[in-house]
Symmetry: C2
Subunit: 336 residues, 2 copies
């Protein structure tokens, strides 16, 4: 009983009913593991589409402590049922590949825009008091007009994925303003860590880099390696999600996530090789189809979330890469 | 021959193959009539969905001089065929009702976003040299943060229609940047004139006002009548469309249309009553479902198009209302 009281004191998620879409994916599974630790009653939705991030192994540590519902956010009937009775909904399912969005724009539209409408309609009709946390992306900003990018930066998406994610985000805001649906939006930057997709570069190029390092293959850097990125270790992103507890207005505010140590692609490769104690990298010309939708240098100003929700990233790039490599070396066979 | 040469001199549309979606609607039919006058070979696409603006009577003056294809922009197969061989595509079909977009968000998404993707995919694959003119809307700006609203104003749509139109617009820009599809975007304000929908307020509240005046019923003003709007008479908007001839880069630039005589709703009603030589108006409280998606005062800065394409509106509100009332009095039975 003492332990339970302690849990109640430190977290508002104790015994809370929480739904996570994309819950077998990278962010969703890490969040689910933490929420189970905190005593939440977690239901996971995931479609397990092979090209996306869902992987049953991701929830191995909590497999007997969560409800897993295999379905697609495009399936409005299952969503309508699953959303009922939930207190929090971490809306994380999405198509994340920029290149896939250009090659198959209709699938991207269905998942990133239409499904969001469908989810919000279900909330409005069947659970208007649910609190919705939406995972958006820095891709909405397009090519930065200034650095660091804050939340007031113009939204000028440069690929189909960015446009559809923008719609998904806007629906959340309109459904808040018109119907009072409680929502908060996080614009994520490159997130990495245990349980990410490493099969290919679909989720993040860091995935395929980790795989190559483990397989003793050289890392491939597109361009000259000077491009700047800010990375978040997944535990820090999970922490930001959990900090929604401190959010009182639930009025669709937008928060950037980022860190204060943006580095070049070349430095990223060097750092990962150092943490791996082995490895090499090659430069290749930017593939033409990627160059056209590339955003150039990016790093953000995350001071708004620091100020409002008290969040700052805690994990250095070095430590993050070390932990990530360790995880994938130990669990390699489940991810390739 | 002399006449033809004269036509060739004054317009680049002589003998040009031009496709107009929504061509039986308000803007589309007025544009088609003008293009036929200028010697263009016009094909019209329209779905004739009863709630939208399509009306066969609209093209009565040119019914034997255009090709009419009844189909829906959501029908990718017919679009794929129709787009081939065309030199210009005036992409005007759209769902325009803000309230309908809230009541049936999926239809709005299909027409205003998904169909646009489908159209652009067809252009990319089957007619990459076509010039696409996209009719967008001031609704993208949401509630103005400053007045007059220029093209740099943040895009913050406040209803589902605004979000989906924003996607449709962004797809045009991305398809230009990535695939080189030639495109230009006009953000229209309240447009009025002959051939608009007057059955109800779905296309513009000015429609139902005209109908009420003709039927000797009082005009209903929502709110206190102080709200400001800028109106464009349809001939001026058609002129802007024809001015794309002067546009050389075809690189997805965005242009506001507007006029320099913004007036209040109350003044609008008074002006229309004056031109009608009869009529009255009542004030009623803003309906709750409309208030939430209302944008407040709006008028725009259209100096960018004036500078780049030499366009300025020529028709005063008074003259516009006079001509509109005359048209609908003469053609009343075809519009109710």
């Amino acid at each position: 009983m003492q332990y339970m009281q302690y849990m109640q004191q430190i977290t508002g998620f104790f015994k809370k009913k929480v739904l996570i879409s994309g819950g077998l994916g990278f962010l969703g599974s890490n969040l689910a593991i933490k929420l189970v630790e905190l005593g939440a009653k977690v239901t996971i939705i995931d479609s397990l589409i092979p090209e996306y991030g869902g992987n049953l192994w991701n929830i191995n540590p909590i497999k007997d402590k969560v409800t897993v519902n295999i379905s697609d956010v495009r399936d409005e009937h299952s969503m309508r049922h699953l959303i009922q009775g939930q207190e929090y909904f971490f809306n994380l399912a999405g198509q994340t590949s920029h290149l896939d969005s250009m090659n198959n724009p209709f699938t991207d539209l269905d998942i990133n825009a239409k499904s969001q409408l469908s989810i919000l309609e279900a909330c409005r009709k069947y659970n208007p008091d649910i609190k919705v946390v939406f995972a958006s992306t820095r891709q909405l900003y397009g090519k930065p007009r200034y650095l660091p990018v804050d939340e007031n930066h113009p939204v000028v998406p440069i690929d189909v994925n960015g446009i559809n994610k923008m719609s998904g985000e806007c629906y959340h805001i309109v459904y808040n303003q018109v119907y009072g649906i409680k929502t908060i939006i996080f614009r994520l930057t490159n997130t990495f860590g245990p349980r990410m997709r490493i099969k290919d570069a679909r989720q993040t190029f860091l995935g395929i880099w980790v795989r190559n390092l483990i397989e003793n293959k050289p890392i491939t850097i597109f361009g000259d390696g000077t491009q700047i990125r800010d990375y978040n270790y997944v535990d820090d992103v999970v922490e930001a999600f959990l900090n929604v507890e401190k959010y009182e207005s639930w009025s669709g505010d937008i928060y950037n996530l980022g860190n204060n140590d943006p580095i070049s692609l070349k430095s990223t490769a060097e750092l990962m090789i150092k943490e791996n104690n082995a490895g090499s990298f090659d430069f290749v010309d930017f593939p033409k189809e990627l160059k056209k939708i590339d955003i150039g240098d990016y790093y953000c100003d995350y001071s708004k979330i620091s100020k409002h929700l008290g969040w700052t990233p805690q994990t250095s790039n070095c430590l993050g890469f070390k932990k990530t490599l360790k995880y994938f070396k130990e669990n390699y066979e489940h991810y390739i």
